[in-house]
Amino acid sequence: MSFLNNYIYYIGAFGLIFIGLYIILVKRNLIKVIIGLSILDTGVNLFLISIGYVKRGTAPIFSRPGIEAARMVDPVPQALVLTAIVIGVAVLALALSLAIRLYQHYGTLNLRKIKEQRW
């Protein structure tokens, strides 16, 4: 039980990452692959945040006097994830736009059928 207590965030984060990887490996529908990429992205973000966590830590903000610095969580992973989330949204939109164009060109979203077709 203490194992679960200690590693539950890692398990959750890697659970999301493996779900995303599995979808990317197995599914053939392009939209599902993009959904898998998005889930993978979320898992990576959660993993980075959980690496920076400190037991009973507070947010790294000196919003009022009397907050001691020793109990703050690591700000570096939070700073990385902050930008990664917004970039993830933009990249997701780019992937979806490519999917729209592929569908208009080939008439299908099935990756296997797209591979069989000629230009």
Partner: protein, 228 residues
């Protein structure tokens, strides 16, 4: 067959990661650099939100690169979606009901105000340019969903996007001219926990807020245009 191979590969990867993760204790402080930022962040940068001082002061150049990635993704989306021959299909758009329309128009300025508050106070409270920009873009999503047929001005969004990027680079170059390296904090740091403090950090975060907000809104605009 494909599923079995996939699961097998994932199992191997998962085993390797599990072995290495048991060496990383959860909840213990790990990096020395994070400790340094927390201890020295407020006197060195003037921003009470340490995450903001990491994003824009210690790792400001890195953030410029990330903003560029966002910019390139938006450009790529525009390039992909506008190259196709567009057929002028005048599809009839069903107008929204009065309650929906009025509610959207009532909420829109309030959401814009909230987003602006988030990115102006980025150095004091949780938030900043990226989050505020995302909130502003959500206001435009509301307009696109509720008030059908209304569009953002393309010129305005391009202008806000370019100005945001330009201000970021110009502030960095002024730092190069004044202090000797790119993005040096050349303005006075002020009293911590007041609105006008932390030197260049609020200026850059306002620029990023405009840039992210206009970029995400233009992404939504292009996707909506594609479906019509």
């Amino acid at each position: 067959m494909r599923k079995i191979i996939g699961l097998l590969l994932l199992g191997i990867v998962a085993w390797g990661i599990a072995v290495s993760l048991t060496r990383i204790p959860f909840g213990a402080p790990k990096t020395k650099v994070g400790r340094y930022y927390v201890d020295k962040g407020v006197p060195e940068t003037g921003a009470t939100n340490i995450v903001t001082s990491v994003v824009l002061n210690y790792r400001g150049f890195d953030t410029l690169g990330e903003v560029t990635v966002l910019f390139i993704a938006t450009i790529g989306l525009g390039a992909v979606l506008t190259t196709g021959r567009r057929k002028k299909s005048e599809r009839k758009i069903e107008p929204a009901s009065l309650i929906l329309y009025t509610g959207c128009r009532f909420l829109f300025p309030l959401i814009l105000l909230f987003g602006t508050y988030i990115f102006i106070h980025g150095h004091l409270t949780p938030g900043g340019g990226f989050q505020g920009g995302a909130i502003i873009a959500s206001a435009f999503v509301l307009i696109y969903l509720g008030c059908r047929g209304r569009r953002i001005s393309e010129l305005g969004s391009k202008l806000a996007e370019s100005l945001g990027g330009l201000i970021f680079v110009i502030v960095g170059l002024v730092g190069l001219a004044v202090g000797g390296y790119f993005l040096i904090n050349f303005l006075p740091k002020g009293i911590p926990n007041s609105l006008f403090s932390a030197g260049i950090i609020p200026i850059i975060y306002i620029a990023i807020g405009f840039k992210v907000g206009s970029e995400l809104s233009s992404i939504i605009d292009k996707l909506v245009e594609e479906t019509e």
